[in-house]
């Protein structure tokens, strides 16, 4: 049998039909089994914030120690106060989310992260 790490590539279509908590559970349940999750389209900032919060609640001594997550900064992130009332009134779109890789913190490690290149190393359990 091939030894290695399972990688799940989740399409944007699949995530689009899910609520925030459904997305977070899908990701965390997968990662807690030792798998690497690749999201075609990343999470919104609010979803990222909730992912951190729920991840913290799942950490146990000698068990799950958290996640390693890699993505690029949102392409059209507005500067501070840049969205403002005008943007809200006239339907300014939120920051464009980008491809994201999430794995167990004890199996995935970032080697190099730059504006346009991310290198990560993954080990099997």
């Amino acid at each position: 049998m091939i030894q290695g790490v399972q990688i799940d590539l989740i399409s944007a279509d699949r995530l689009d039909n899910m609520t925030t908590m459904e997305k977070i559970r899908l990701i965390l349940d997968d990662v807690m089994e030792g798998n690497i999750v690749v999201l075609e389209k990343g999470l919104t900032p609010d979803e990222q914030s909730r992912l951190i919060e729920v991840t913290m609640l799942e950490i146990t001594p000698d068990g799950f120690s958290g996640i390693e997550m890699e993505t690029y900064a949102a392409k059209d992130a507005a500067p501070s106060g840049g969205g403002g009332l005008f943007g809200k009134l006239f339907g300014k779109k939120g920051p464009g989310t980008r491809m994201t890789v999430i794995g167990p913190a004890n199996q995935m490690k970032t080697i190099k992260k730059d504006k346009d290149l991310i290198s990560a190393w993954v080990s099997s359990r």
Binding site: I52, I59, G66, A74, P79, G82, K113
Partner: protein, 213 residues
């Protein structure tokens, strides 16, 4: 005191209770060991003479958000702003108690610290979503700013349209590079300081008056 004045005072008190805008809550955010509590203590001490919390070289010394109310910052031109300072636990996506064993802690203490730290991070994220009006984002200027936590947190802050000042801390250390932080986050003001030594705090206070006033 005649009836008219008493009535006017009561009415004014009543209206104030209903319409008074609360002071802005400024959260000090950043990864563990960036110097958030040291800076919080510096700000609180400079303007009130108090302190906010203990500091330590061991990560996650701050495991509960701490708020100091009514800090009034002013400059020589007479500009003032009164804010609440909220010192928050360092944000991370992973916590392993074994990290604390390397600092000589006993296993039970390390496990307890890790558990409290996870609760603290969750609490910090909750504050950011619900109760924070502006952010001082702290970075250790001796470290690479291009980390996932930094990119993610600045993105979360931007998505909430909160005013943010980035502080490049620890400029008293020889390896510090505020320019690397400016390059990583060109869309925000970056103020180099040493929270420990108190270097360049005046520039930070001026920026706080401008951004949070």
């Amino acid at each position: 005191m005649n009836l008219f004045i008493r009535t006017k005072k009561r009415l004014s008190k009543f209206l104030n209770a209903f319409f008074k805008k609360r002071q802005s809550r400024i959260g000090i955010y950043g990864p563990p060991n960036a110097g958030k509590t040291t800076l919080s203590n510096r700000i609180v001490r400079d303007w009130t003479g108090d302190a906010l919390g203990p500091v330590s070289e061991i990560p996650h010394e701050t495991r509960r958000a701490r708020r100091k109310e009514g800090i009034t910052i002013s400059n020589q031109n007479g500009n003032t702003v009164t804010i609440d300072i909220v010192d928050t636990p360092g944000v991370t996506t992973k916590i392993d108690y074994q990290e604390f064993l390397e600092y000589g802690m006993e296993k039970d203490d390390a496990v307890k610290r890790a558990r409290e730290a996870t609760e603290g991070v969750a609490e910090a994220m909750h504050w950011l979503r619900e109760d924070i009006d502006g952010v001082i984002y702290m970075l250790d200027a001796t470290l690479d700013p291009f980390t996932q936590v930094n990119i993610m947190l600045v993105g979360i802050i931007e998505s909430r349209d909160l005013p943010v000042i980035i502080v490049a801390n620890k400029i008293d250390l020889p390896d510090a590079s505020a320019s690397a932080i400016k390059k990583a986050f060109p869309q925000h003001p970056v103020i180099p300081v040493s929270g420990l030594e108190g270097n360049n705090m005046e520039e930070l206070y001026e920026k706080m008056l401008e951004y949070f006033g």
